[in-house]
Symmetry: C2
Subunit: 211 residues, 2 copies
């Protein structure tokens, strides 16, 4: 059941829809029209209807969209009901922050292992999980059914680690290193380039001054 592929633009908007629908659900709102949602989210109603229709009609004429149903359908599209084992590579501040802050477990992402190169961190535990030395990574991924690696280490380490991950047939990499990883096409890579984001902010500040 491989329907026509959906554009990245659409996929990129789904999490935001999901967030708003979750809020509506929490406020006990049962149904919403594309027009009302459009006002709330500051996008066009046309875009909302087009986006949802990529997946084949979640609404009903004259009624709108059922919030609960739509919320759930988007979760399905995004694969949020699936469970995935993951490892965090890099137990520094950022790795720790993600482990604590992301609520991975609640979202179906199970943190199975944490790895670091720094001997001072090894053996410490983060949310009950002991930090292991990098040498264990390859073996651990292979024998623990790990789908995802979160890379929260500096760029040189990240490139090297990515090579190991490829060897282990990792399925996805959530990459926080400031580098583009060169991995085969069938590995899902999602980049979070924080410094890129900060540079965009810097640009915005510059424009602001010019006015």
């Amino acid at each position: 059941m491989d329907e026509k592929t959906i554009s990245q633009a659409v996929i990129g908007r789904l999490p935001r829809y999901y967030r708003y629908l979750g809020d509506l659900k929490d406020s006990g709102i049962e149904r919403i029209s594309s027009q009302d949602l459009s006002k709330l989210m500051k996008v066009t109603a046309s875009q909302i209807r087009q986006d949802f229709n990529n997946f084949g009609g979640f609404g009903q004429q004259g009624y709108g969209y059922n919030v609960d149903y739509l919320y759930n359908e988007i979760a399905k599209i995004l694969g949020l009901h699936n469970k995935h084992n993951l490892v965090i590579v890099g137990a520094g501040n950022l790795g720790q922050a993600l482990a604590n802050y992301m609520n991975f477990e609640r979202r179906g992402f199970i943190v199975k292992g944490i790895f670091d190169i720094n001997p001072n961190l090894i053996g410490k535990t983060l949310r009950q999980i002991p930090v292991q030395p990098m040498e264990n990574l390859e073996e651990f991924i292979k024998s623990n059914n790990i789908d995802i690696a979160v890379l929260t280490i500096p760029k040189d380490g990240a490139v090297k680690t990515a090579e190991i991950l490829v060897k282990c047939n990792i399925k996805a990499i959530w990459n926080f290193a400031h580098v583009d990883l060169n991995v085969p096409d069938d590995i899902v890579v999602e980049n979070v380039h924080l410094s890129d984001s900060l540079m965009k902010l810097s640009y915005g500040l510059g424009q602001r001054e010019n006015k």
Copy 2:
């Protein structure tokens, strides 16, 4: 000197160009053609030339682009030579991670203050900077020439804090909370929605299974 406004698509690509040019510079490479850069970055040479021409011609026919010059011009466009004072609101793991990991100072972003609501954190220091209670925030921003607030607190706190920030005439907000902040147009907001990113990765994994 307010030239025609540049599309977000172009601005969004500049940090990546900047990163690659920095690497080329570090490897001692002096000049590069759009074609060679295109191979390296996996974008079309046409796009590269179009992008740069938005700002008016950084290259030279028959030669290409001077790496050092281009690197510097992009830095200027992004406003990376400017200095900005900032505060971090939220001294939890993520706030700490950013303070340590982002190398703010090296990039012209000066961390002037750190704030938190948690009494256990107040008084502790992060890179020589004491964590202050939230009550001090408003006064501190006004009297310390703060341009940017980094929001690393949960969503309810973030919305409330944004209101305070607006009152203080903050110029920009780097928002890590999972919520869209509703602030006046002249405030630059750059969002980092980590959970959105993770959902996109989840979608990618789902697609992968279907093949």
